[in-house]
């Protein structure tokens, strides 16, 4: 197994080339070879780092140290000191505008790689999640204290708006704006709901946030309640997360005992109560109106919208529904200010994003990084490369309702805007990395089976559509497809996307459409040649009797 522990990038824009970038690049290759580190350190190029004096620029990851200008005679020192001994060479670091020496993340995102930056998961894994003292020791409840004692509700909302925070539950709706909708809807009774249903396959970030730092959600919900004028909050936790439920329950008790929750918090006159609520296993209950129906004790079926929950939500009252990760950003935003938050991430997608990495890479798990890094970086640096040296075939981003990105698009920066422009969805932040042994027909079939099972059945295009798409894909994987099936799937998908009542039906065909867009030949091979090129589908066993007589 080859694990790249470090990466050296040499800038090769016009100016850098003029100043010997090519020689520097080769010098790195040679020196690294000399030290016998070729297996652990990769050398690559980067086109433009945004500066054209003092070039070439050399960035070393994962430390994100930026050296410039680098001459061939400097290479030996950098390799020996930094890459062999692990000491960054201060005298060679640069202080270029936009590129700080420690973090090469630039706001313009000119190809530099960010290091992990933790806001949401700052305390997770460090503090004892059962100890309110630990939480307080690590800045806990400072945001709430500041909000309740120094700020008006409108100022809290203004701070959240200033931060540019967008919802992390999938749709990316601006959080401050949602808060102001709820706040401006008249009513004595309002609710705050923390959406911890998290049933998107491949997504477990919210579980880690709650299990690792439950008090941050309590603090955030209380701040939200103060901002929008609510006194009751619900945390809807999926039934499959018993540990998260117990941690939250315990945290609520402790917060109440310490006067951080309940009546007259911090003697401010503001009261807020939180009720944990466990779901019972239904993906659709993550959709906010279905969640509300479920909280009301019914089948979790989405309502027709409008009215939106912000005006007509739980028990008919104005309701704020926010995702766990969204809320987990709030205490730090209030503590440090919206402007501070804006400094992280890219201008249009601020802050960090928590991603879950799964599939055929050496490291699977969770990372929190500024918005805007690329899939290649995720795979190489955080995923520690593809497992067993296999080739990358595709990545499914955003969970089962998300998009499929073929290997050749892995350099698209991941933020809301770039992704949307590239037709890629960020969704829940799940990244399923698949190697060449993955059959797209088999993958699409499994994804469609999920939607067939989880469709709530309320509206026809989704109910029939998810079933038909699954059946057709199933047939194709067994060698029983015909070429007209592709057109039929496209037609069904179009109808589902356009007229389904909720996001489930609208996005269920997403992965399938991408498979047909990027891997159509492979699907056709199943149909016309009766072979599964990857050898995964049960096709071969069935072929003889199923082939139509010509």
């Amino acid at each position: 197994m080859k694990i790249i522990r470090s990466m050296v990038l040499v800038s090769v824009d016009e100016a850098s080339l003029e100043h010997g970038a090519e020689k520097v690049f080769h010098a790195f290759l040679e020196e690294i070879e000399e030290f016998g580190l070729s297996d652990q350190i990769a050398v690559s190029t980067i086109r433009d780092v945004g500066v054209h004096e003092d070039v070439p620029v050399v960035i070393v990851y994962p430390d994100a140290a930026v050296y410039a200008p680098v001459r061939v005679e400097d290479v030996h020192t950098i390799v020996e000191e930094h890459l062999v001994k692990g000491n960054i060479v201060p005298s060679m670091l640069t202080m270029m505008r936009g590129l700080t020496p420690e973090v090469a993340w630039t706001r313009e995102r000119r190809g530099a790689l960010p290091v992990q930056k933790r806001i949401v998961l700052e305390r997770a894994g460090i503090v004892n999640p059962a100890s309110i003292e630990d939480y307080i020791l690590y800045d806990g409840f400072q945001g709430l204290g500041k909000a309740l004692t120094q700020m008006k509700p409108s100022e809290v909302i203004a701070e959240v708006e200033k931060s540019g925070l967008q919802g992390r539950g999938g749709a990316g709706f601006p959080t401050g704006r949602k808060w102001s909708f709820v706040s401006s809807t008249p009513g004595d009774i309002k609710y705050v709901i923390c959406n911890a249903d998290e049933s998107e396959p491949g997504t477990f970030k919210d579980r880690l946030i709650i299990e690792g730092d439950p008090f941050s959600i309590i603090e955030a919900m209380t701040i939200a309640g103060y901002a929008v004028g609510a006194h009751e909050g619900y945390i809807y936790i999926r039934g499959e997360y018993p540990v998260a439920y117990r941690r939250i329950e315990h945290a609520i008790h402790q917060a109440e005992e310490h006067g951080m929750l309940g009546n007259n918090i911090f003697d401010s006159g503001f009261s807020f109560h939180i009720h944990p609520h466990a779901g019972a296993g239904a993906y659709i209950c993550g959709e906010e109106t279905a969640l509300i129906e479920s909280l009301e004790g019914k089948r979790g079926m989405p309502r027709a919208r409008p009215p939106y929950p912000t005006t007509y939500g739980l028990f008919g009252k104005p309701t704020l529904v926010n995702n766990v990760e969204t809320l987990a950003n709030i205490p730090a935003i209030i503590r440090n200010g919206g402007v501070w938050y804006r400094e992280v991430g890219s201008p249009k997608s601020t802050g960090t994003k928590v991603y879950t990495i799964m599939g055929n890479v050496n490291f699977t798990g969770v990372i929190e990084v500024p918005m805007g890094i690329t899939l290649r970086e995720v795979i190489d640096i955080y995923g520690k490369g593809m497992k067993n040296g296999k080739k990358l075939k595709l990545v499914q981003t955003g969970g089962s309702s998300g998009t499929i990105v073929p290997a050749n698009l892995q350099d698209t920066p991941m933020d809301f805007d770039s992704f949307r422009n590239a037709g890629v969805s960020l969704g829940s932040g799940a990244l399923l990395i698949c190697n060449e042994d993955t059959c797209v027909v088999d993958l699409a079939k499994v994804i469609l089976r999920f939607f067939r099972n989880e469709c709530c059945g309320k509206c026809t295009p989704c109910r029939i559509g998810t079933l038909r798409l699954y059946e057709i894909m199933s047939d194709i994987s067994e060698g029983k497809g015909s070429i007209s099936d592709i057109d039929e799937m496209l037609k069904i998908s179009e109808a589902m996307s356009e007229v389904s009542n909720c996001g489930l039906g609208q996005t269920a065909p997403t992965a399938l459409l991408d498979v047909l867009k990027y891997f159509r030949e492979e699907v056709e091979a199943h149909i016309t040649d009766h072979v599964c090129p990857v050898g995964v589908c049960p096709i071969t066993a069935h072929v003889p009797e199923l082939l139509p007589v010509p």
Binding site: P201, E240, I357
Partner: protein, 167 residues
């Protein structure tokens, strides 16, 4: 699961009373109450529904509830069963992330080992095989649960050794 209560002679009235005591009799308590009964018995017997309805139906507060409404909820959620299941329940994650890292082979091994198809309960009522979607521990896929125990990074070879613990 509480084996004592699982015996035939459970008292549904008492069970429902306990659950109401714990979760209250408001509308938002319906799912927690159903969950509690399902957890204690392994399923929700139809006799529980009118019992729950009696408590939650509060006309003076404008809350009307019918048995059919409760049935509709009880039959909707995947964690509930309306018929008794086996003594041990295997919940196998069939979602894509687990599937692509080897789930396909593991479920086959389980089926072969137990002679069960997904959704079936064994004749000796020892095992039920239930397929589920992602349970949020995908980084160690393939994954399945036996009752409340979690198994990750499972390979087909490990299946019989794991199941043997429950014989």
């Amino acid at each position: 699961m509480d084996q004592a209560i699982k015996q035939k002679d459970f008292d549904i009235v008492e069970l429902v009373n306990d659950a109401i005591e714990k979760h209250g009799n408001t509308r938002d308590a319906v799912v927690p109450i159903l969950s509690e009964i399902n957890h204690k018995l392994g399923y929700i017997p139809s006799s529980a529904l009118p019992e729950i309805r009696r408590h939650i139906h509060v006309p003076q507060e404008g809350v009307f509830l019918a048995d059919s409404h409760l049935y509709s909820a009880a039959s909707f959620y995947h964690l509930y069963s309306l018929k008794p299941l086996g003594r041990h329940i295997i919940r196998f994650c069939e979602s894509a992330p687990c599937h692509v890292v080897g789930g396909r082979e593991v479920i086959q091994a389980i089926q072969d080992e137990l002679g069960l198809q997904p959704g079936e309960t064994s004749d000796d009522k020892n095992w039920s095989l239930v397929m589920t979607s992602c349970i949020g521990i995908c980084s160690v896929g393939p994954v399945f649960l036996v009752d409340d125990d979690v198994y990750g990074n499972v390979t087909p070879e490990r299946v019989s050794e794991i199941l043997a613990k429950y014989q």
